[in-house]
Symmetry: C2
Subunit: 328 residues, 2 copies
């Protein structure tokens, strides 16, 4: 299918023109896809449109402060918009119904798979909510506390609260503008960044007990066994924060988190710093990802899996002269 | 002593007028006092002044990217400026020499003790670096990468990377302006927020093993024994992050971190959420602090200390009806 690139102006025109919209978020919804989806919903409602927001998965309770019941829009005459959905596979349960019929995709991922009829992509935006902010401004939408909270949530959560390299002057300028509303940013940030369940803290303690260092402490391995997940009831998105621990230790350039996913299957998530390339290491083992964050699923015993991933890391360390000692 | 309140204009005039400046930071220097001190140094150097920056303690290596060797300025004819120093006691080792002779204090702490001859206080500023940014702008200083990095460091570190309630639209606007320079904010943030030593991670693991919950999980206690500090070599400022863990657990409104400071002395740091008041609880035991963060030093065995602090928390929970169950 030929995917047409939209400008801001095209997108504004498109949103004004139609009457019935269905907005889709990606599966395992995060603050950016939900913030973008609901902010766009509130904007389109001001323009008198009928709008339904559909999320393929249950929306975590922590986002409740900017959610609302949306309209029911008949599939037949609706224009379908996907926000922050870089690939139709990320529509999850909605892919079958909507994967090939998205009319407009609004996104900031440089890796966008161009699956929609029209695409408004701004790969320089730190979050899709940055794009939605500009879009609502161009549409002359009257901002309010709820819209501002939704957009701030996306900005903050997609940037690690303004920490990452994707942040630009524009990100901060938009954040500043959102402070004109009563967004209670500190409350949002506490919930998004500084709150974990008692069970997750228990799991973290168990995982820290598994910490192993290799290659002169340049590589760290953490393990999350099935037993740990069962005992604490933590799984899936709960475990994402743990992956960050593996790359938080001074001197570590390869942080590995091995999560048991079956009786003899494991998902190894790799986080790297220069000169290592996580994507290349994982590709060798059959996985893939980005330069500094990649993953691979491996079969065998935990020890087998560790040997495989350590061998691949060691090989690249040697190739890139990241590890010159003969200590291991 | 009569402390005169300066406006921005007064401060600008004062900084233009004199020729020799000594800039003092507070003890246990953080990103804001150092960022403010060095940014002001670079600014005054552009005005052709002789300027020395003096820090009462060794400056952590992680701030090296905006430091430099400063002039040596004779004490006799120097004008003394303290930045981000709310009380002369915070001058630490410099208090004796400079505590009563600070000519100008530039600060953002609402609790400022007004010990200097002149005070430029902006209690609405999220960081002293916010004030220094405005001051350098008013002085028409030419910003560069190093000045921008110093100021960004102060803004980010004093706000938990724009997370806390002290952040305003102005904070984000200044951050946006600093992005005009090559500040490598992601690198700064990685060092300031997401890097810990292997030893500290080991200590965190040991501390998590001590986690105790009380009063229907509304109170959590973590313990850092002297043995743990010895074994890992972590102490002082290293341990600040651990205090945050105690208030990161969902549902906890009283997070206690008990650190052993002598054979039978312990410092209990308390972090609270509404309706609890940490300052009131600690005051009852002879300590003090802020509404949501306070501390007290207690003598006795670890068990004695726990009983004392738990009793004080329980009493306030009952007074404020924060804990109505009879579970403990």
């Amino acid at each position: 299918m030929n995917c047409i690139d939209f400008t801001l102006k095209d997108t504004v025109k498109f949103l004004k023109k139609n009457s019935n919209y269905i907005i889709l978020t990606h599966a395992s919804p995060d603050g950016d896809t939900l913030g973008a989806g609901y902010a766009l919903y509130y904007g389109l409602k001001q323009l008198g449109k009928r709008v339904e927001v559909i999320c393929p998965d249950v929306i975590p309770q922590k986002f409740a402060y900017f959610l609302c019941d949306t309209d029911h829009v008949s599939r037949e005459n609706a224009v379908v918009i996907a926000v922050d959905v870089a690939d139709k596979r990320l529509l999850g349960a909605l892919q079958e119904d909507f994967g090939d019929t998205v009319d407009l995709n609004i996104d900031h991922h440089v890796s966008n798979a161009r699956y929609a009829k029209n695409l408004y992509l701004d790969a320089d935006a730190a979050a899709t909510c940055e794009i939605i902010y500009e879009l609502l401004s161009a549409l002359k939408i009257k901002f309010n506390d709820t819209i501002a909270k939704a957009l701030y949530t996306g900005l903050a959560t997609d940037t690690g609260c303004f920490k990452y390299s994707c942040v630009t002057a524009k990100t901060h300028k938009i954040a500043a503008a959102l402070y004109d509303y009563n967004i209670e940013a500190d409350v949002i940030n506490k919930v998004m960044f500084d709150t974990k369940s008692k069970d997750l803290l228990t799991l973290e303690r168990m995982v820290l007990d598994t910490a192993e260092y290799h290659f002169n402490d340049k590589c760290m391995i953490l393990t999350i066994t099935a037993a740990m997940q069962e005992k604490t009831g933590c799984s899936g998105p709960d475990l994402e924060g743990i992956t960050e621990i593996s790359r938080s230790v001074e001197g570590v350039i390869a942080g590995v988190t091995i999560k048991q996913t079956g009786s003899d299957t494991y998902k190894a998530s790799l986080r790297t710093y220069d000169p290592l390339n996580a994507s290349e290491i994982c590709k060798k083992l059959g996985g893939g990802g980005h330069k500094n964050a990649a993953a691979v699923t491996l079969c065998g015993s935990l020890d087998d899996v560790k040997v495989k991933i350590l061998d691949a890391i060691k090989q690249q360390m040697e190739e890139k002269h990241a590890w010159t000692s003969a200590a291991e």
